[in-house]
């Protein structure tokens, strides 16, 4: 039960003013600009765009500054802003095969066409703190340039598909279900699950994916390919009668190649998991692919072993960190009346128990 309680207004105003002061921190230290956040904390910006489900690096930088670096709070701000925007329509599905790749690696084929392109990766760093970065005004090292490939890099799964060694992806409705426009309803189809996973909390999706690797719904994934780069976004413009590129986005895509299925009618084939996430968000994209694959157990004729990552209701209901935070944190708000009734109840029960106990002792 909730009742309105007045009287907190002055305290709230003062709390917000102090929050603003604390956000600014020591005034002897230069204030952060949005451009600095956007350019130098770009992976935080990417995470806020992915989980906020809105691609706009400047807005994500603002949200991070306002939230004092609390990324879930920043995601919340972006989600709230997003609801104020009219929606102009939907784009054509992006063509990740035509991506201008900054990075493209495969764990399944060493010598694939186009090669293993590492890109700006943390992999192979020693994870030792670099105290040189603590000094300011450090020049970035010169970056080597090579002979750029002219053709787009082919998807690794294409090679397997050519020999029919991997299942082909079934087509679906041209207009997919949209969980931002209709309540989440089960059973969810794969497009709806992919939407929930790509905007889901990175930590949650990572842990679900990890649980499958540790045996809770194991699906033997290989990273067939991981690519990060830029794709144009094309949309039909009704007043023009044709489509134009309305922008471009950086995406991370992960295609996993998983354990076979086969039956009396179908020869054995590899299966797939898929991850596609806004920005350079590699951990999330790989996690998404593993969880996507685990959730496909029914479609692929596998057993439900009761693993959490196979349970779409469990995964989809708990992947959203804004929903989770809202419900979790509401318990810190006033519940005075609820608690008052509990308090009265426990006092009465104790009084009764004491009375009975005393009576027993006296007899």
């Amino acid at each position: 039960m909730y009742v309105a309680v007045k009287g907190g207004e002055r305290a709230i105003d003062n709390a917000h003013a102090w929050l603003a002061e604390e956000r600014r921190g020591d005034k002897d230290v230069a204030e952060l600009s949005l451009a600095q956040i956007r350019e130098q904390l770009s992976l935080a910006v990417n995470r806020v765009m992915a989980e906020g489900s809105l691609y706009d690096p400047d807005l994500a930088a603002l949200a991070i500054k306002q939230a004092r670096g609390d990324l879930i709070e920043a995601v919340f701000l972006i989600r709230a802003y997003r609801t104020t925007l009219p929606r102009f329509g939907a784009t054509r599905p992006v063509e990740t095969g035509a991506m201008d790749c900054d990075r493209r690696i495969s764990a399944t084929f060493k010598d694939l066409p186009g090669g293993q392109v590492l890109g700006p990766t943390f992999d192979y760093t020693h994870r030792l703190l670099d105290f040189a970065l603590a000094a300011e005004g450090l020049d970035a090292p010169d970056v080597a340039e090579g002979e750029a490939a002219q053709a787009p890099l082919p998807h690794v799964t294409e090679f397997l598909a050519r020999e029919d060694l991997i299942q082909s992806e079934p087509d679906g409705p041209e207009t997919p279900r949209d969980l931002t426009r209709e309540p989440l309803d089960f059973p969810a189809d794969r497009p709806l699950r992919l939407q929930a996973l790509t905007r889901g909390d990175e930590g949650f999706v990572l842990s679900m994916a990890y649980s499958t690797q540790r045996g809770y719904g194991r699906n033997h994934p290989f990273v067939g390919e991981l690519r990060i780069g830029t794709v144009p976004v094309e949309m039909e413009i009704p007043e023009l009668g044709f489509s134009i590129e309305i922008g471009e986005v950086v995406l991370t895509e992960c295609e996993t190649v998983n354990q076979f299925t086969g039956s009396k009618t179908e020869p054995p084939q590899f299966t797939r998991g898929y991850g596609l996430v806004f920005g350079q968000t590699e951990r999330k994209a790989i996690s998404m692919a593993l969880v996507d694959r685990a959730l496909r157990w029914e479609e692929l004729g596998e057993d439900n072993v009761g693993a959490p990552a196979q349970d779409e209701e469990f995964v989809l209901y708990h992947s959203d960190n804004v929903q989770a935070t809202g419900f979790l944190e509401h318990i810190k708000l006033p519940h005075y009346v609820d608690f008052q009734s509990e308090l009265e109840l426990i006092r009465r029960l104790r009084a009764e128990a004491m009375q009975t106990g005393l009576k027993d002792a006296a007899e």
């Binding site: 992915a50 809105l54 691609y55 706009d56 400047d58 807005l59 997003r82 925007l85 009219p86 929606r87 329509g89 939907a90 784009t91 054509r92 599905p93 992006v94 063509e95 095969g97 201008d100 790749c101 900054d102 990075r103 090669g115 392109v117 590492l118 890109g119 080597a144 340039e145 090579g146 002979e147 750029a148 490939a149 998807h155 799964t157 082909s168 992806e169 079934p170 207009t175 949209d178 969980l179 931002t180 794969r190 497009p191 992919l194 939407q195 976004v233 413009i237 009668g241 044709f242 489509s243 134009i244 590129e245 309305i246 922008g247 986005v249 995406l251 895509e253 898929y274 596609l276 996507d292």
Partner: protein, 158 residues
């Protein structure tokens, strides 16, 4: 993939307009403003058909890159439509939330429809294309330098 059949895709006028609007949509707004300022010191007389409006579009992907479409998330877009005194109509769409850039894109589109296409291309669109191409080429060259060149150690026979 499906190409819209609503208008002939091989019509050169449509192809040119599509290329122009796509370049304007992706242009960094500061560059668009600067190039316009070099081209003209003021805005042409125009009627605003649709005032610059910030909104979102839902970006879609495909499951497994080739399968069923799904909603990946939204991106911000600003759009604007104008009509010049001559009657030429321009539609501007730009990525992000810059209303002035959307207005400029619409005006450039309308002026190009009116007959200034070559001059605008030389002054604004060609530089934007060249700069976009240069950014893309530089990134591709940096990526190429991180390509692994495997070499195989010769193993002894015994």
């Amino acid at each position: 993939m499906s190409i819209s059949a609503s208008k002939a895709p091989d019509d050169p006028a449509i192809a040119a307009r599509k290329a122009r609007l796509s370049t304007l949509a992706k242009a960094p707004s500061a560059r668009l403003r600067a190039l316009w300022a070099n081209y003209s010191s003021d805005l042409p007389a125009h009627e605003v058909l649709r005032a610059p409006e910030v909104g979102a579009v839902m970006v879609r992907g495909r499951a497994g890159a080739t399968g069923a479409p799904f909603n990946l998330g939204e991106m911000t877009v600003t759009r604007c439509s104008v009509r010049l005194d001559s009657g030429a109509v321009g539609h501007g769409h730009v990525q992000g939330r810059d209303r002035d850039a959307a207005l400029l894109a619409a005006l450039i589109d309308a002026l190009a429809e009116e007959g200034e296409a070559d001059a605008l291309d030389a002054a604004i669109l060609a530089p934007l294309r060249a700069e976009a191409e240069a950014r893309k080429t530089t990134r591709a060259a940096k990526a190429a330098a991180t390509k692994v060149e495997f070499f195989t150690m010769v193993r002894g026979e015994n």
